[in-house]
Subunit: 182 residues, 2 copies
């Protein structure tokens, strides 16, 4: 059995290419213009499985896309979300994080470093989604997360032990706070 190594936090390039072309088609069919910036932001999200923040996307892209501005990244993310190309992930810290993976999966959320990783859903999802009868709530998305401690943060940490940091997104407010707490 061969192990195929991919860079940490990276999605197989085959899949990425697929998603990107579907994205461009989708844009054109809805009359959204395919600009270098939009393409870059979407591709960045498609490649990155660490659910980066707007700022992280901006930092990753700035060297490649000349003159890109943070405000634009925010605007693009909002439009991608509205058009259903990406999903905004609920977080415990203030920062918005994004996910181009729209398939049903669960998130492993580390309460120490704030990292969010995908994991296959190991629980049957009721279909159709239950209606909360009394309240009249109509559910559309089944959003399951397991909150806990990731491998890196859980390792015994004597002298020299290092705390994991999500690769593409440096720890932000809440994550920093969690680290302080330990």
């Amino acid at each position: 059995m061969r192990i195929i190594k991919t860079k940490r936090g990276a999605r197989p390039s085959r899949e990425v290419r697929d998603w990107c072309s579907r994205f461009e088609e989708g844009c054109r069919s809805r009359g959204l213009r395919v600009t270098a910036q939009r393409r870059a932001v979407y591709q960045c999200l498609a490649e990155d499985t660490t659910h980066p923040t707007a700022e992280a996307i901006y930092s990753a892209l700035r060297p490649k896309v000349t003159g890109l501005s943070l405000a634009t990244v925010y605007r693009i993310l909002e439009s991608l979300e509205q058009e259903g190309f990406v999903r905004r992930v609920r977080t415990v810290d203030g920062a918005g994080r994004f996910d181009a993976n729209l398939s049903l999966h669960q998130h492993l959320v580390c309460r120490r470093c704030g990292s969010i990783t995908d994991s296959p859903l190991d629980l049957p999802v009721p279909q159709p989604l239950p209606r909360a009868a009394a309240s009249g709530f109509v559910a559309e998305i089944f959003d399951l997360s397991l909150i806990g401690i990731c491998a890196g943060c859980g390792r015994p940490r004597g002298r020299g032990a290092r705390r994991t940091q999500p690769s593409s997104s440096p720890p932000r407010r809440a994550a920093r706070e969690f680290q302080r707490r330990s």
Copy 2:
């Protein structure tokens, strides 16, 4: 069968009293001081089932607790969370929301008005929580939300129809944005 009416978003006062006294004991036993402000913030959260934001708590309390400051509310909420008296709820908008209900339940999150309501968990929770073997992640909290449209926002809205607003928390950034989108 008699229907016991409680104010929308309110928890039975019996339970609230219970929780509050447990809270005060807990504080004392850990050497935390029981001040009027802390008591008020915790009680507010215990009474309110709408998962209010710091700002909402502040507004609700300002008339009652003279001279209360927003910074203090934030500080108290952080301390309550660290001590495990309340849980910070993950949200899709930027605003932090809090929940004094620590029992296992799921959240119904309205993507239009941003409201978050509790609902009994109608799904078996694997015990112990699954370990994501490969990744070494150790799960502690099972966090399930159903994201969709709440009763108020889903009602047919011809002329005169009104959009629901979460009672204790006025819509914030993301919620306002959702409303704009409709």
